[in-house]
């Protein structure tokens, strides 16, 4: 990313603003100091300005980590650009930090660009405790020596002029500074504050607006730089949400009436939001006593005619396995959302990972075919739920929507969905069942059967998780067992026949094809695009349906000399001393593609609990091209 460094006239103030094509900004603080809110507001204002944005939450693993600790950084990272932004990008250009310790954590993790601008709360320099004073001065000197452009900001002192508890007002002061730096329309910022604090009193809104204005004025008086990122406003209306909100909106839009869940990070915010709004459209969020109960409850409701969703994350998903197998066996529609987090076991609850693909496709004992969809964007989180409900009810199958912590907590603008009546589930069928019809009258070709729903006269039968015949009678006969297995498997093929081959990003053939799934789409395409611009014959393909895989994949892969999967799950490095082709564990998608298509798909993965950076992917692809 190159700064154009063209000075343009600023409409207000005297200084010229440096025009940028994009910038990455961070606001970090101790937990509870409001950096999250500042960052989200900043992102929303940028989106209102017509800029592309991608926000990433910076979340400590604990609710109340110790104050001023390296591991306690809480905040938000916003990538703002002129055009569409599809991922979190590379390193940070500018950061506002409320103390030096949280900042050191970010520096240690390599999150800051060399020479990045740092705006640092100055109050610690004069702190009454000598330890804190010394730690601050040491850190300050280190940062300056390391080549960062450090500005000390007396946030506490300035905010005290307006509020008693400066610790709680600083975030809006910081927002004001950022609005000055990026030449944002101050009125839009005021409107955003009114929206953010909409549920609070006018007093609260006024105070925060004053803090915003004070920050803006301070920056104007004291900073010797400012930027402008030209926006390309679209005429199409957009909304900005994170992936979990998109999932929740998708649940509403799909016409589902029930969501059964148990609290688990990072999935819970979807249920929080649904709990707040679902009842307005006659929906119910049921917080069950555990993950298994949530899944069983959803299956019961689906069985009774109302396709239901259960929302969870890795550990919860593991717990639901037996119940998911029941829904597969009894052919009861069910939508499961798995917001993947770091694993195995408790793993990294707040961090992003794509580690659940195999367990999602192959999970539950025995042959338990189910549909797996992985949204690649936040917008796709919304539409995937609607698709999932329709597939679940059409095929009487379990459909798992696999998102991850990265999609769940990141925000991005996308076109405001236009409501379609076809999204909504049809009313529960209560018509009489014709004499002689059977509850599992599997179609000879597709395996599909029309389900009988309680309330339908003449349809009385007992569904069972035991092997059963077309009448749903328990049957241990080998032929009947094979017949049921066949029907449940064929349904996947029937669905596969309706799918389109994935799009190829870039030329249809070339030296290298990059394959990916889920939240890595924006990152991969950004890296691929930059290589294409340099004349490299690289394309990418992002797979949305992971089970069944759509047709045409093998043909696409065969048009490239090399194929590599880029994923956020574990794979062995082939350079390890004891790793060779006979024991190397490939990444999940690479394993699937190799097994199914007999194509030599290589892989490169990283499991750092965050989105892979486009520059990293770029390096990996360059190396692969040369190999």
């Amino acid at each position: 990313v190159t700064d154009s460094l063209v000075a343009t006239e600023r409409p207000t103030g005297g200084r010229p603003a440096i025009e940028l094509s994009e910038h990455i900004v961070e606001i970090i603080s101790d937990s509870g100091e409001g950096a999250q809110r500042c960052g989200q507001s900043f992102g929303s204002i940028a989106a209102r300005m017509g800029n592309g944005i991608w926000t990433t939450e910076i979340i400590p693993a604990e609710i109340r980590p110790p104050a001023r600790s390296v591991a306690g950084a809480s905040g938000n990272r916003i990538r703002v650009g002129s055009g569409k932004i599809t991922n979190g990008g590379d390193e940070t250009d500018l950061v506002i930090a409320f103390n030096e310790q949280v900042l050191l954590g970010r520096v240690r993790d390599g999150e800051l660009k060399p020479g990045a601008t740092i705006l640092l709360e100055r109050m610690w320099r004069d702190h009454q405790l000598p330890d804190i004073r010394e730690s601050y001065i040491r850190a300050y000197d280190r940062l300056v020596d390391a080549g960062y452009r450090v500005y000390e900001v007396p946030m506490e002192t300035e905010c005290r002029k307006l509020v008693n508890d400066a610790r709680r007002g600083k975030n809006m002061f910081a927002l004001g500074i950022l609005c000055f730096i990026y030449s944002f329309d101050l009125q839009m910022a005021r409107d955003q504050i009114a929206l953010t604090f909409g549920k609070k009193s006018q007093d609260v809104i006024d105070t925060n607006v004053r803090l915003l204005e004070a920050g803006h004025a301070w920056a104007g008086d004291n900073l010797d730089f400012c930027y402008r990122i030209p926006a390309v406003p679209t005429t199409q209306p957009h909304i900005v949400t994170n992936g979990n909100t998109a999932v929740a909106l998708g649940v509403m839009a799909s016409g589902m009436e029930l969501c059964a869940m148990y609290p688990i990070t990072p999935a819970t915010s979807a249920s929080h939001y649904l709990s707040d709004v679902f009842e307005k459209v006659g929906g119910i969020v049921h917080q069950a006593e555990d993950e298994i109960a949530a899944c069983a409850f959803a299956i019961g409701a689906s069985y009774a005619g109302k396709c239901t969703v259960t929302i969870t994350s890795g550990p919860g998903y593991s717990l639901k396995q037996e119940a998911i197998g029941l829904a597969v066996m009894a052919e009861i529609p069910l939508v499961v959302v798995n917001v993947q987090r770091g694993g195995p076991s408790t793993g990294q609850p707040t961090k992003a990972e794509q580690g659940d693909l195999m367990t999602t496709i192959y999970g539950s004992h025995g042959d338990a075919p189910k549909v797996v969809i992985a949204p690649a964007t936040i917008e796709d989180c919304f539409h995937s739920i609607i698709t999932a409900r329709r597939i679940a009810e059409t095929f009487n199958m379990v459909v798992v929507v696999l998102t991850d912590a990265s999609l769940a907590t990141s925000q991005q603008p996308y076109p405001r969905p236009v409501f379609q009546e076809s999204w909504i589930a049809p009313p529960v069928d209560q018509s009489p069942i014709p004499a002689g019809a059977k509850p599992y009258d599997w179609d000879a070709t597709t395996g599909l059967a029309k389900r009988f729903i309680p309330g339908q006269p003449g349809g009385m039968h007992t569904v069972t998780g035991i092997a059963h015949d077309r009448n749903s009678h328990v049957a241990y006969d080998p032929e009947i067992n094979m017949e049921g297995l066949r029907a449940r498997s064929l349904k996947l093929a029937a669905l596969q026949r309706t799918l389109q081959p994935p799009d190829v990003f870039g030329p249809e053939s070339g030296d290298l094809l990059v394959v990916g799934w889920g939240s890595t789409k924006g990152t991969i395409e950004e890296a691929v695009e930059s290589l294409q611009a340099e004349g490299k014959a690289v394309s990418s393909m992002h797979v949305r349906f992971l089970n069944p895989l759509p047709p045409g994949i093998k043909e696409i892969m065969q048009r490239f000399d090399k194929v590599i999967a880029i994923e956020t799950n574990w794979s062995d490095d082939p350079n390890e001393l004891i790793i060779d082709e006979s024991n190397r564990r490939y990444s999940a998608l690479a394993t699937l593609l190799r097994a199914r298509y007999l194509v030599d798909v290589d892989c490169w993965t990283e499991v750092r609990g965050r989105q892979i950076k486009p520059s990293t992917v770029r390096q990996v692809l360059l190396a692969k091209l040369e190999k």
Partner: protein, 317 residues
């Protein structure tokens, strides 16, 4: 214009169902198994109440007793081990118009499904729950269950079980929102039927523990109570069940018990010498979870669309 009386009568005749209308298949339980008696009582209830087969759902878990739904000509859900209650709750929440029964065993309900049992009591959804308690795992061939008396010799406790039996009555009575707890025994069909019926009529979660014989694995366990009618204590009250004259001739041990009296209920439930039969507790005023959660909002496509547009407005830029 009204319907002619004859037409009305003809319709009623059509709607009238016999026991056979509710029966299906031949139960594969052992001869003398208590499940047979429970099935007979429940089929009688269905007929007497004239429940519409298509509007009735029996949900079960896994175990001998969980085969129950297969022998009824209603809708049934034979699920997985321990999870009958949450499945039934889902059915009821989605479709309050359906009558939902749950059949669960002592292993299913009190062991692998114990979490769901406690919380089902607390939700107090309008479900009728039959705990088929034979004090042993039958389908997996004789392992100690939570209600096996201490010292029970089984395949997993060949030298006798180590722990005191769990008392499902006192535990259930101790859970918030409990609204109906009763106990029956399979060998007194008259009171079994009375209790099953009272449980069905109660609005809320009716928890009926039915002590039943397992002639295959634990044939002697309940013998002392079967052979000595004085060890059975019939509960009666003007607000609960009455003891018929025939029953009173055999079972002479009666106790007047107000089903609203929780302390007395706990006292009765704690008696390990005698088996109390009747309603231990009933409180008709406990709200049902499905009523609390369901709103009066009439769902329509338009409502969803408006709700959605309103939410999109919040996030519009």
């Amino acid at each position: 214009m009204g319907i002619a009386a004859t037409e009305c009568l003809l319709e009623m005749y059509d709607e009238r169902r016999s026991l056979e209308d509710y029966q299906k298949g031949v139960p594969r339980w052992c001869t003398g198994c208590g499940d047979n008696a429970i099935l007979a009582a429940v089929q009688r209830l269905l007929r007497d109440e004239g429940l519409r087969p298509e509007k009735t759902v029996f949900v079960s878990g896994i175990g001998c007793s969980s085969r129950f739904p297969h022998y009824l000509n209603t809708y049934g859900f034979h699920g997985i081990h321990g999870r009958a209650l949450p499945v039934a709750e889902g059915v009821k929440m989605a479709r309050p118009d359906l009558t939902v029964f749950v059949n669960t065993g002592d292993g299913d309900c009190l062991s692998i499904g114990a979490a769901h049992w406690i919380h089902a009591i607390r939700y107090n959804m309008n479900l009728t729950v039959f705990l088929h308690d034979n004090q042993i795992y039958g389908l997996t061939k004789m392992q100690a269950s939570p209600t096996s008396p201490i010292g029970t010799k089984s395949n997993t406790t060949p030298r006798g079980s180590y722990l005191d039996a769990l008392n499902p009555l006192t535990v259930t009575l101790g859970v918030s929102n409990v609204s109906f707890v009763a106990q029956a025994v399979d060998w007194i069909p008259e009171s079994l039927y009375q209790i099953v019926r009272a449980a069905y009529e109660h609005k809320g979660l009716s928890f009926v523990r039915i002590l039943q014989r397992c002639p295959e694995w634990l044939p002697k366990s309940l013998e002392p109570w079967m052979q000595d009618p004085d060890k059975i204590q019939l509960l009666h009250h003007e607000n609960a069940l009455r003891v018929s004259d025939q029953l009173a001739m055999v079972y002479k041990n009666h106790r007047k018990h107000d089903p609203l009296d929780m302390l007395d209920a706990l006292d009765i439930a704690s008696d390990l010498e005698r088996i109390p039969v009747g309603i231990l507790y009933q409180n008709k005023d406990v709200p049902c979870y499905e009523d609390t959660r369901h709103s009066d909002v009439l769902r329509s496509d338009d409502l969803v669309r408006h709700g959605l547009e309103h939410e999109f407005d919040k996030y519009a830029v």
